[in-house]
Symmetry: C2
């Protein structure tokens, strides 16, 4: 078959058996697998020193310092190739981003139950820090809807934002600090894989649930309610809304909000249809804000019940160092909120970074990225920002606007900073309903129904995680949704890993390959010998007895089997219970006169079987490199099989 | 190699490529794997109707009823072959058992904080019920130490046995009822595999911890304390003992207890050395009880501080139907205690049954066994018994005494019943210290140090579960020990399943088999092609990104690879995240000019890859039956490779 293969030694050759025995020796006497200690040391070594550092070991100190600086601040690499052309594109992208992010971040601050200026602050410092340290070129940094919701829903249970906004704000900054610390630690200790524990399917469900919850939160602004529930589940929010609807609401808010929402959605549709008009949905929010503000200012509609933003504090980010509360009784809870929002923020940022990097065909180092995000949030927490991350919708706008480098983030940050210095007074009359419609218009992007359908089609268990996260967020809380998603995902792993798998094998015609007869119905079962593959990767306490039982059932179905060959090539791990079951099976079968053979036993498994003296008790002659050889050995006339065994015994 | 194999079609043959393409079609177009619905239906069908029933489908109703009765009451099968010879041996074994179980069960009732007669009751009804329904021939039914400890330690936290023994007893019967219900339900719905979730290693650790805790509990009896802690952890028990030692203790108890403990241990030693004297350790407890009772009676040592059993209620098991508390506020807790003790009791009984059945070479049906145990505990809870199960130590005695059938259990039950009717008054002066020494002398059998060492040698993670259970029981509580054991065991499953596994492959000389080079250092790597096997069984959200990264690292180490062949024969499951990672990898590698091929993709995996349109996007020509064919396809001159692809495309 393969052009590499040498002529096959025939079993009938004089030297056949010695060759067979040599191969069995290869199976039985492999090099020692690395011990747990060695594995751990290798892991630690790999973690502590990345490949890039290794290459530069012999270079002089100064250039090593340079390369270290380049490693920490990828922005340094920019200088060489950056020109006017690139800057122009970054400038345009940055301005487009700013026009989108100013109304969005005021709305998100509202969602996070903070004053509007904190949303704007979060769009100044974190993007600048990220621009220095981050390696993604397209990502747009700032507050995002899901993290804002998460913070508000978890914080509200600790401190009430309405009665004690000062303590609430302090707690938010403390949680932001912890989020940054956790992110930086994950990056430093290369724990990037933690982000993967939220599976793709879970994220799809979680995001959709969060989008609906965020949308329902906007009812407050859209209908001009004064009182609203602090809980986030659908039942509470709808109940609270109906109650408020009966008492006090101002239809003008609703009319204004809906009008502009329709405008925003139409702009979004146009932008989708015509890729050249990508800027239309991006600047539509700012246009809406400007138009509606002008409208309210001219008509003084705020006197007729239209809720307005009112005062936004002028000036750049004030320091919030003194607001971090490390002696608060809520420190533990703040750390917990920090951890959860760190993970959710990372999940979004890493997903965003990865997908756009793969479009442009470059690599981002997840661990460095986490350090950048962590450091940015630590600095953010000291400068009145709350948790920032890479926003999916704004990153898409940034990408469509043709950004070249992180400079677009710097342009955006400077634009927002200028607005904070100069234009805050202009936003006094901005209606709250418009902010609600800006947020609402961004939500459809978070609900990915086609992807959910695709998940359903491909994997029902994945869909369960998706729908579990969705309903968890909707009817429980954001945390419960996350918990359900992680639990179902890992439950799935356990279920699939301990699922007992046994497959009868047959020979694929025209080859000497043995495959499962269920997948290859043309495979031929040999006469008198049962070939069974253990297809579970783990042969452990939770499935060993079932596997044993299944093998016996399979044998009972094939009445005339005189020998059984177990193909163990898929088994990567066996524990003491697994070995006990294997030994019981061996005893039970050999006591009824059935010969047993073991083929393709893996490295670590054979090592364990030897340590446990299973190989010794069962006999070395029962282990084969692969199924074909085992069949030959069992088929050959007794004298020759004896020879084979003798050849093994003498070595 | 195999005598089955036909001559290999050569790649250079005229028909070579069409054959190759046919095989690729086998990989790509297998029969549809069963859907989740079909799998569930098949599972349900299998569960609802055992193979034995199926065979008798066509037989008339009466004989079907007979066979059903035989199925539920295996004792019916006995009649035919049972003779005087067998009965003699059963009688001897039953009498030996009774002499052992009378002192033991009084002690265990003491451990369970119940009056002594309840231990005896538990040795009357449950063995009789089991004898009717159970299928193990050697198992000895009755109260056991670990379950008694478990009940007492969990119940004490709900109701105090010292101040309110009536409520405590009611709660114990209710918990026993629940335990029986759970066991019967497990048996009925064939959930026998649940017992396997406590791994062998965990049981070893748990039993050793429980033995030490039980031993420490005996300090109360051995030192004649009146006050003793109700907690079971080592620290509390030792603390309480030291406190009591300073205030009140009666050395005579200790002298008496230790003397007979030494006698019991010596008898045990002799029994172990000389298998013919197996009856010595079995009757030594009864001898000790008789001797010490006589001693106390004659010397009236109870007036000098020797604690005695005093009044044991005369008569057979009274009904306890009215004592079951289904409207108690503690119902939920009773159910929980019932569930936990049901599982622990089942674990011991199934382990006992399995190991002795395997020695005698017959089969026991775990599910029927559970139904028998469940029914026996339900009936027990109505007749003043607490949770009974198969005792390891007494089963061993039963086996050594030469029991033939469950009749030995019946003999034992009748003997105990007679004692309850006639001899309870004789036990008035039995010193409590003797009961403590009877329990203590049975404990060394529960601590299996050589097995723990063997586990350490074979599997460090298994040992972790073992030692975790041990210390959990010792320093926490029985439940904490169990919880730690289960958590570590399943944590191990998750860890091992999501461990990213990639292995470079090479060809074993003299064959066309490709194996991992780490296990087979003699394997030859082909030139220009990297062969990598994904050795993780699951390619899922938790490890897909790491596997992708590892494959890229492996490729970076082999600089000159022009093509990569991924051997996916070990992958049994892929989810949406796994597929996304695979597609990213494919894109990234092909964009750098590296050819990719996929070999040995399994049934369910290929089905998913097709549903997700991965196969369509990547190209059908990239899938191969096995590595060798992929190498040939990539090696062959472009024109021929084109032909191969064309052959696939046109089909």
């Amino acid at each position: 078959m393969s052009s590499l293969s040498e002529p096959h030694p025939q079993a009938d050759d004089a030297g056949g058996y010695s060759l067979l025995s040599e191969r069995s020796r290869w199976v039985l006497d492999p090099p020692e697998p690395p011990s747990i200690r060695e594995q751990f040391l290798a892991f630690a070594r790999k973690k502590s020193r990345s490949r890039a550092d290794k290459v530069e070991e012999k270079t002089p100190l100064t250039s090593r310092a340079c390369s270290l600086a380049r490693g920490i601040f990828p922005v340094v690499k920019l200088g060489r190739s950056y020109g006017v052309g690139k800057f122009k594109r970054d400038l345009m992208a940055g301005l487009t981003l700013a026009s989108l992010c100013i109304p969005q971040s005021i709305g998100y601050a509202n969602l996070a139950k903070l004053d509007p200026e904190y949303g704007l602050y979060t769009n100044v410092v974190p993007p600048l820090i990220y621009a220095l340290m981050g390696s993604s070129r397209e990502i747009a940094i700032g507050p995002v809807a899901v993290v804002s919701l998460l913070l508000a829903s978890m914080m509200e249970r600790i401190v009430d934002s309405a009665t004690d906004p000062g303590s609430y704000r302090k707690l938010v900054f403390t949680a932001t600090f912890f989020a940054g610390m956790f992110q930086a630690i994950f990056g430093l200790f290369r724990l990037g894989f933690l982000v993967d524990f939220l599976s793709h399917a879970a994220i799809v469900g979680f995001m959709a649930g969060a989008a609906i919850v965020i949308g329902l939160q906007q009812l407050k602004g859209l209908l001009g309610f004064s009182h609203f529930t602090t809980r986030t589940d659908v039942v509470s929010v709808l109940g609270s809304s109906f109650k408020s609807l009966r008492h006090e609401w101002y239809p003008l808010n609703f009319v204004l909000g809906c009008t502009f929402l329709i405008f925003l959605l139409v702009a979004r549709c146009i932008g989708r249809r015509n890729k050249n008009l990508f800027w239309l949905p991006a600047i539509a929010p700012l246009i809406s804000v400007m138009l509606s503000t002008l409208l309210v200012f001219l008509s003084r509609a705020d006197r007729h019940g239209v809720k307005i933003v009112k005062h936004i504090k002028k000036g750049l980010n004030p320091s919030s160092v003194s607001q971090l509360q490390f002696r608060s009784p809520h420190l533990g809870q703040a750390a917990k909120v920090g951890l959860i929002s760190a993970l959710v923020a990372l999940t979004e940022a890493v997903a965003v970074g990865r997908s756009f990097a793969s479009i442009k065909g470059y690599q981002i180092d997840g661990n460095k990225e986490m350090m950048a995000l962590g450091f940015m949030n630590i600095v953010g927490s000291l400068t009145s920002c709350y948790v920032a991350t890479g926003s999916f919708s704004r990153t898409a706008v940034n990408f469509s606007a043709g950004c070249e480098t992180v400079v677009s983030n710097i342009v955006m940050a400077i634009t927002v900073a200028l607005s904070l210095l100069l234009f805050t007074r202009l936003l006094y009359y901005t209606p709250v309903a418009i902010l609600a419609s800006v947020i609402l218009s961004a939500l459809p992007g978070l609900i990915d129904v086609p992807e959910a359908i695709r998940i359903w089609r491909i994997d029902k268990l994945d869909f369960l995680a998706c729908i579990g996260a969705f309903f968890g967020v909707l009817f429980g809380s954001v945390e419960i949704g996350l918990l359900i998603a992680v639990t179902i995902s890992f439950g799935k792993v356990v279920l699939l890993s301990i699922r007992p798998g046994t497959e009868p094998l047959g020979m694929i015609p025209g080859t000497d390959v043995f495959c499962q007869t269920s997948q290859y119905p043309m495979a031929i079962k040999p006469h008198g010998t049962s070939l069974i593959r253990i297809s579970s990767g783990l042969l452990c306490f939770a499935n060993a007895q079932s596997i044993k039982q299944r093998i016996k059932t399979l044998l009972a179905e094939e009445d005339k089997a005189q020998s059984v060959i177990l193909d163990m090539s898929s088994v990567t791990y066996v524990d003491t219970s697994g070995m006990a079951a294997l030994e019981e099976l061996h005893k039970e079968l050999t006591s009824t006169g059935i010969e047993m053979g073991y083929a393709g036993v893996q490295w670590r498994v054979i090592h364990k079987l030897k340590v446990a003296k299973f190989v010794e008790r069962v006999g070395r002659e029962r282990f084969f490199l692969r199924v074909g050889e085992a069949i030959d050995a069992f088929r050959s006339p007794p004298s020759k099989a004896g020879e084979h065994i003798a050849a093994l015994d003498c070595c």
